[in-house]
Structures are given as structure tokens and as C-alpha cells.
């Protein structure tokens, strides 16, 4: 059980860090996608949506090549950091950020699209600078999009499996996340431990989604 607890904390850490990083970079991407008139916008929209349609093994495969010291990106990283990204928590984090990107960007983009230009123009006439506009107008008005984005990013990373299977190497405390130890228990026919993890993931994911949808519904009624 202790190894499963280690996997639980590792998974929570991975999901939390992924969500934090995505909540920092996601809004900028989403804002550009929501407001840009550029003819390149559909291309970048497609790029962001790719993880939704591609099998995780595609990402896993390219990450494996990118991390390898046999190729340029891996060589560069090795010379800077001194260690390889493959089979490391850092590597998983990169994989998760890419893999969960659309789950954070898309709700935010939807929120920004519906955000009226009227309020922003009013803010401009009041002379608010960009950061004040973000803090006082944009974020409060799209609060529910931010909450949805955070929960979706977090919950999706909890369930990450395919990428980790290909680049993780199954190291307890470093890359052995819950979905991987569940897989291992099932294959080794250790059904009791498998049940513990599977039911745990099922219930916690359901609760998370239920809570966020309830909160959103309450806001709707206001």
C-alpha cells in the first residue's frame, strides 16, 4: 500500500504543477486565440487541439526521441541540465503540460470570446492599464472559465497514462503515477490493490467534476 501512497502523492504533485503552469501560460494563448484576427489563428487553434485527437503514444514517441541524447534537443538539455529528461519527473511534467493544454486553453478561450468588448472599451476610457484591466475586469468576469479550466486540467492529468507508459520507466516516487501502478496491479492480477486505485480515481474524479458543475450552476442562477 505504501508504494501506492507514493504513487498517489506523485500523481497529485504532477497534476497540481501541470495545472499551475497551464494556468500561467494558458490564458495568454487563449486570449490570442479568442481575439486575434490573424489568418494563422486556425492553424494554432488546430495545434492546441491536437492532444484531444492524437493517441498519447504519438506524443510519447516524439518525446522519447526528443529526450534521447542521440538527437539534438536531448543533447542540448543534457549539456545544460546534466541529466536526461527521459524517466524523470521533469519529463513527465513536460508531457502532461502538452497533453492537458487543450483542457485548459479551450474553456478559457470560450470565456474570453463571450467577454463583451463594451466593458473593455469602458475600461480603456477610464484609462486603466493592461494589468489593471486583467485583474479588475477580465479575470473576475471569466472566473467560471478559469475554475473550469483548472479542474479540467487537474482531472485530466490525474488520468494520464499513455505518455507516461512510454517515457516514464516506472520509477516509484519519480515516474510511477497512479494510472501506471493500477496497470501494473491489473497485469499482475493483484485485483485488491487495483480496486483501491481504480475506485479511488473514479470517485475522486466524479466528485471533482460534480463539485465544479454544481458551482457553475449556482453562478448561473445568480
Amino acid at each position: 500500500m505504501s508504494s501506492d501512497l507514493t504513487a498517489l502523492f506523485l500523481t497529485l504533485k504532477l497534476a497540481l504543477l501541470t495545472t499551475v503552469v497551464l494556468l500561467i501560460i494558458g490564458p495568454f494563448i487563449a486570449w490570442w486565440l479568442a481575439k486575434s484576427q490573424s489568418k494563422f489563428r486556425p492553424f494554432f487553434e488546430a495545434l492546441v487541439a491536437l492532444p484531444l485527437v492524437l493517441p498519447p503514444t504519438v506524443l510519447g514517441f516524439y518525446l522519447l526521441l526528443a529526450f534521447s541524447p542521440n538527437y539534438l534537443p536531448g543533447q542540448l538539455w543534457q549539456s545544460i541540465a546534466g541529466s536526461s529528461l527521459a524517466f524523470s519527473f521533469g519529463g513527465l511534467l513536460i508531457g502532461s503540460i502538452i497533453y492537458s493544454l487543450p483542457f485548459v486553453v479551450q474553456p478559457l478561450q470560450a470565456g474570453f470570446v463571450t467577454l463583451g468588448n463594451k466593458e473593455l472599451e469602458a475600461a480603456d476610457t477610464l484609462g486603466l492599464n493592461r494589468w489593471r484591466k486583467i485583474i479588475h475586469i477580465i479575470v473576475p468576469m471569466t472566473k467560471r472559465s478559469f475554475m473550469l479550466a483548472a479542474v479540467m486540467g487537474f482531472a485530466h492529468t490525474l488520468g494520464e497514462f499513455g505518455v507516461v507508459l512510454m517515457i516514464g520507466g516506472n520509477i516509484p516516487g519519480e515516474t510511477q503515477v497512479l494510472a501506471i501502478s493500477l496497470f501494473e496491479h491489473v497485469e499482475a492480477l493483484e485485483y485488491q490493490q487495483a480496486h483501491n486505485i481504480a475506485a479511488g480515481l473514479l470517485v475522486s474524479s466524479l466528485v471533482m467534476l460534480f463539485v465544479i458543475y454544481s458551482v457553475l450552476q449556482k453562478q448561473d442562477h445568480r
Binding site: S68, F87, G169, I171
Partner: protein, 258 residues
Amino acid sequence: MRPKLWGFITFICFVINPVYAVELRVAVASNFKSTAKIIAAEFEKKSSHKITLISASTGALYSLISHGAPYDIFLSADQKRPTLLVKSGLAHPDSLFTYAIGQLAFWAPNAKNIEANSISNIINLQTGKLVIANPKLAPYGASAWKYIKDSGLTTVIEGKLIKGNNITQALQFIASGNASSGFVSYSELLHGGIRDNFILLPPRSYQPIIQQGIILRRTKHLEAAKDLFDFMKNEGKTLILSAGYALPKIAFSAAKVH
């Protein structure tokens, strides 16, 4: 004209579409897949049966079979799982036989002067990871793990050990350059065209990997399955030996296969 045309059509049908007697689904442990492919091709030439190979770690296949996966034959990489299948009534006990004995090798593609060095030294010097197959699921991994413990390497590998889902992923992690070294199947090294920078472990230094095959009870093609096993026990032996495996009572020598 007409009878001639029908004759022609019948002729074409027989020539273009040789009637496969049956299709055999063979669940094969990852390490043996490349060898099983060669055996299957030879067997198909002789018998007109068609063979489909399904490969994964022995543990994964065993789990699938115990849940009723529609396979005819199981080529395991151990003795334990086929015996368990017999006990649970899922396999034909009299079909059980040892088709190969696996050879474990230590591979470090970038290590210098590997013959003169000890495995413990090589691992000590490397900065990257050391990979084995998951001991819980893959017999090659279990054997490698026991070797590591028995030869006192546990402290040497600390912080360096990673696990592949099966022995083939272990090999791939090293081949792609992501891991520095690892314990892999000698046969897969040969198959990958790797001729140097590995150490073939002496057979008595580790727990032997006795790979047994068995016919599953749910098969509808018992005769064809028996034909395949007979082929493996006779003509197939040379193919298995030259793929880098030993056989019971035939002493293994690395020189023979080079």
C-alpha cells in the same frame, strides 16, 4: 464459352486465394516474437495454416488469457503461468513443453572495453539509467532482478534503475539512447543486429528462463495447434537455436550462433 469461363473463375479462385485451413492465434511473450515470426513463416509455407501473433509481457498475456482472450496457443516466457493455466483448467496439460531457454545479456552500447570490465564497474561509471523488464510481469525482468540481488549490485544500481513494461521496451529504451545499459534478451540483441558491447551472462549465474508453450482449452483448432507444436519440436529447433536460445539437453554455446 460458359463452362470454360466457370473453369477459369474456379482456377483463379484457387490460385489467388489459397484456402487457409485455419487461423491460429498465438499469444507470444515479447522476447520470442521475432523468432515466432520466423517460425510462423516457415510453418505457413508447409501447412497452409495462417498464424496471427499477439505479443506482450508474459504477465499481461496471462491476465488476458485468464479473462477469456480468444487465443489458441500461449508461448510464455516462464513455467509458472502455463502451469497456473493448467491448474485453472484453461489449458491442455499434455501439450505443455519447453520450447526455448532464454539467455540473459547485459548490454551497454557506449561502455568502453566491455569485455575487460565488470558489470558492476560499468554501471558505476555510467551516468544514465539502467533498465530491466518489470520483474512483476516479465520473466526476463524477474531473472535480471534476482541476478542483481545475488551478485550484490543493489547498491550500485541505486537511483539508476528503471523498468520497461516488457523485455522489448527495455531493449528499446537502450537502443533509443534514453537508458545507458540494461539486462535484455540475448536473442533480441541478435535479432537487432547487435554484435558487440554486450556480455552474455553465464547460464549458471542466474535463474534459468525456461520458456514453456501450451495449447489453450478454448481453441477450436486443436489439430492445427498440435501441428505447430510438432513443427517447433522438430524442424523449428534449428530456428530457435540460431535465434539465440538454448534448448533442454542441448548445451547452449554462443559461438554456434555467431
